[in-house]
Amino acid sequence: MTDASPDARKPRTPADAAQRDDFAPRSQPIADRIAYQRKTWRFERIGFGVLLVLVLLALTGLFSDGPLSRHSSSGPGQRLSVEYERFLRNGASSRIVLTARTRPSALATLRIDRALLRTHTIESLQPQPLFARSHEGGLELVGQADERGRLTLYLTIRPESPGLVTNSAWFEGERVIFSQFIYP
């Protein structure tokens, strides 16, 4: 039994010369579509680049939980400030912290507009307000400030519908608008 492998080099025919180019199309033993295949390979490389960028963006917080996402807004008089995540994911809990500055131990009335309540489920609200009522479809909360005149409310929210939502919070006529984008 002889091994007919090209260890005993067989002479190359002229047609072989054209075949030396790795990217020239072949018809034996299969008709390959190397031009198309190279496009696929290029797609894989570009796609990998895109995925890499996505991972880096995710690290920055573009998809919630990160420096790009965490944000704090204050009203013009610095009496009300809101800490929130600019980017949320549908169904994933997040936190909003409302801080009102007023006279020591004074009663403070905070309002949250209906947009927040319509798009999120409020899972918890701490501390419990002294008084709460509905106000134009939103929520009006009354709490007592501490000795330094601060009242902080912690809300745990869970987004229920994707899209951009513009929320507002009021305190003593000062309005803070904060927008959140909810990913599906």
Binding site: M1, T2, D3, A4, S5, P6, D7, Q19, D22, F23, R26, Q28, P29, I30, D32, R33, I34, Y36, Q37, R38, T40, W41, F43, E44, G47, F48, V50, L51, G91, P184
Partner: protein
């Protein structure tokens, strides 16, 4: 509605992601790849079901996935271009004992990978014994040795 949309979105997303990952990713499953697949499956499951663990939702999701899969296979039969787009093409990577190195590089393959398959499937020892090697659509490598005798 939610179930169908979720299933369709996940199907499309996975199709594109595995297209990017390349066909070799799923062809030779090592222990680690298996682990990776399990984790991908776990992550996907959350997106598919959300917080709805009802039997109805599970059935809807499964039915949608099967409908898309079977529907796509009909379309692939009907439109050859779609088939090439999704399944890819077979590519020659060794010709007359000579590895086509440029192709290998773009396919993220090494000559060792070919030799490994040659040993496993044909009991060949050297590249020179391989007449043709083909990277198939499914990511596997076929080895055609020189006819002996």
């Amino acid at each position: 509605m939610d179930a169908v949309l979720r299933a369709a979105a996940v199907y499309a997303l996975l199709l594109v992601l595995f297209k990017i990952a390349g066909r070799r990713t799923l062809a030779d499953i090592s222990n680690f790849d298996l682990l990776l697949l399990l984790i991908i499956g776990e992550a996907t499951q959350q997106a598919l079901l959300g917080d709805d663990f009802s039997l109805t939702k599970a059935i809807l999701v499964i039915v949608t996935l099967i409908v898309i899969d079977v529907g796509l296979s009909f379309l692939k039969l009907r439109f050859a271009r779609l088939d090439t787009l999704i399944e890819g093409t077979s590519t020659l990577i060794v010709e007359d004992g000579r590895p086509l190195r440029k192709r290998l590089r773009e396919a993220r393959l090494r000559e060792e990978d070919i030799l490994l398959v040659a040993r496993q499937t044909q009991g060949l020892e050297r590249m020179a014994q391989i007449k043709y090697a083909i990277l198939e659509k499914n990511g596997k490598i076929s080895i055609i040795p020189y006819p002996s005798g």
